[in-house]
Symmetry: C2
Subunit: 328 residues, 2 copies
Amino acid sequence: MKVATIGTGFIVDWFLTAVQESSGISCVAMYSRKKDSAKPLADKYGIDKIYTDLDEMLQDEDINFVYVASPNSLHFKHSLKALQAGKHVICEKPFTSTVDEFDILVDTAKEHHLYLFEAIVTAHMPNYLNIRKQLPRLGTIRMVQCNFSQYSSRYDKFLAGETPNVFNPEFSGGALSDINIYNLHYVIGLFGKPTGIHYYANKHTNGIDTSGVAVLEYDGFQAVCVGCKDTRSECITQIQGEKGFITMRSETSKCADYTIQIGKEKPEHPSIQQNDIALYYELQDFRDIFKIDDYERCLQLLAYSRTVMEVYEEARRDAGILFPADRK
Amino acid sequence: MKVATIGTGFIVDWFLTAVQESSGISCVAMYSRKKDSAKPLADKYGIDKIYTDLDEMLQDEDINFVYVASPNSLHFKHSLKALQAGKHVICEKPFTSTVDEFDILVDTAKEHHLYLFEAIVTAHMPNYLNIRKQLPRLGTIRMVQCNFSQYSSRYDKFLAGETPNVFNPEFSGGALSDINIYNLHYVIGLFGKPTGIHYYANKHTNGIDTSGVAVLEYDGFQAVCVGCKDTRSECITQIQGEKGFITMRSETSKCADYTIQIGKEKPEHPSIQQNDIALYYELQDFRDIFKIDDYERCLQLLAYSRTVMEVYEEARRDAGILFPADRK
C-alpha cells in the first residue's frame, strides 16, 4: 500500500505514526492547499512529495491509496475524486455527511473494484472484538450506555466568537459527527440497526451541537450514547444483561479497559493491553484485506458503515442539525 | 413523634432501624392485614401494638404520625385515610400514582394543618446537599447522567411467571416508580422541572417497565436517567459542566461517594462518610421541621415533590405505562 494523505490535522500525525509501525504500508505523498501546512509532518515522517494540486497528486502512479482526513464536509468530494482517479480510499469518520453521499462513493468504488475503507478505530480494536464474543454470557441485554466526553481544544475559541471547522455546520462539524459517532459505531457494531432513533442535542446559536445524547431503541433494550465536546467526564460504557454486565472504563475510541461481572461472581478482567497507536489495528486490517484481495470483507465493512450512516443522519435530522450536503 | 407503620416490607425494617437511632421519635404501633406479617418486626423493635383494622389504629390517640409503606398503588388511599383521621403522614416514594392523587393529599393536609412528608432519602443526604452547593463551580451544565440499576430479588419469580407487586401495574409497580424515581428526585432537586420529558422503557408483556431510560431536556443541557430492575451495573452519576464535573460512584439513593474535578486539576474528594442507615437523615429533618412547627418548610418540600410527580407521571404516560389510578 502506497498511501497519499489529504489533510494536515493531528489525526494525520496519528495516521502516519501507525503507518510507520506497520509493515507493507508506506506514505509516499501528502496533499495540502498550502505547502507549509504539510511540511512539518512530511519532515517528521520523511515524506518526499508534497502536492498543492490535488488533481496532480491523483495522477501520480506511485500512489495506490488515498487517506482522506480533510474537514468532514469534504470527505465525500475528496474520496470521490480519488476513486474516480482509480485510487483506493481510506476515509476518516464520519464517512460522509449523508447516506446519499455514502452510496455514491460505494457505487463508484464497486464500479472500479476499488477498496473503500472507513477509518473508524473502534471496529478494529482487539478488546472491542472480544467484548462482542462475550455478549452471549450476559443473557438478555436490557441497557447499554456510552459516554465519550472530551473538552475540545477549540471550544474556548468557539466560546470567544470564532468558528473552528469542528463547530461549524458548513464543515459538517459537531459533537454527533466528531465524538458520538464512536459510540454509534460501538453500539451498532454489536447490535445492528435500532428500531427507533432520537437525538437530544445542546445546540449553539449557529445550529451546531456541542454535546448531546442519542437514544437508540432496540427490541427489548435501550442504548444511550452521550457525546460531549463542551465538557469533560469519566468516559464509561456499560452493557447490562440479565445475567451480567460489562463495564468499560475508556473512551469508545480506545476500548482500553473493561471488566465482566456475571451474577454476583467476582469481576473478570479479560481486557488486553492494546497498542497505544490508535489507528494501528484498523491499518493492519485494511492491509491484510487488500493483500489477499478480500473484496467481500470490504463490502461487509461498508454494509456496517452504511447502517451507522443511516443512524447518524437520522439522529442528526431528529435534532434539526442541517449541513450543506442536505441541500443537494 | 409517635409513629404507626403501614406495611411490612424490608423498607419498614429500615425505617424502624432509623427510628431506633433517632431521638424524639418512637414507633408505637404497626398495621398489617395479617398479624403474623407484622409480628417479626414488632418483636424485633419492641412494638407492643399490632392492628389488623386500619380504622381502629387511626383512632388510637397515642399515635400522631403514620408511616405509609404499603404497595405504591395504596399510598394514596392509606395517606388520605390517615390525614382524614387527623394524623400527620410520612409517605414512601413514589408519593402517589398521579398528580391528581398528590394534590388531594396536599389539600387535605393543608386543610387540617397536618404535616405530610415524602420519604425520599436522596433529598436529605448530606453529600447530596453538598453537591448542590458545589454546582456553581462546574460552570454551565451540559450533561447529567444517572444510572441506578439493581437486579430485583423478585425478578426471577417474575420471569418464572409470577407477578410480584413491584412488577404489577395494578400496584403501580415498575422500574420508573421503584428505582428511577430516585434519579428523578436527584436531578429535579438540583435543576428543577425540565422542559421536555421522554421515557424509553423495556416493557414486559403485562405492560410494566422492568427497566428504562428517561431523558429530561433542560435549557442548555440534557439529563439522562437510567433505572433497571432486570439487570445490574455499576451505579454511576455524572454532572458535566464546562468548567468541571462531578462523578458519584453510588446509587442516587445513597449518594455515598463523589469526586469533583475542575479543569485539569486533580480530583477532589469532598464526600463525607454518611450514616449507613438509609432513612436516618430524612427522619432527622422531618423531626426537626415538626418540632419547630416549620410548616413553610413542609410546603417547600411538597412543592418539590409535586414537580417530581409531574415529571414522573408524564414520563410514565410517554412510555404508555398505565395504572388503575389513571382510570379514576
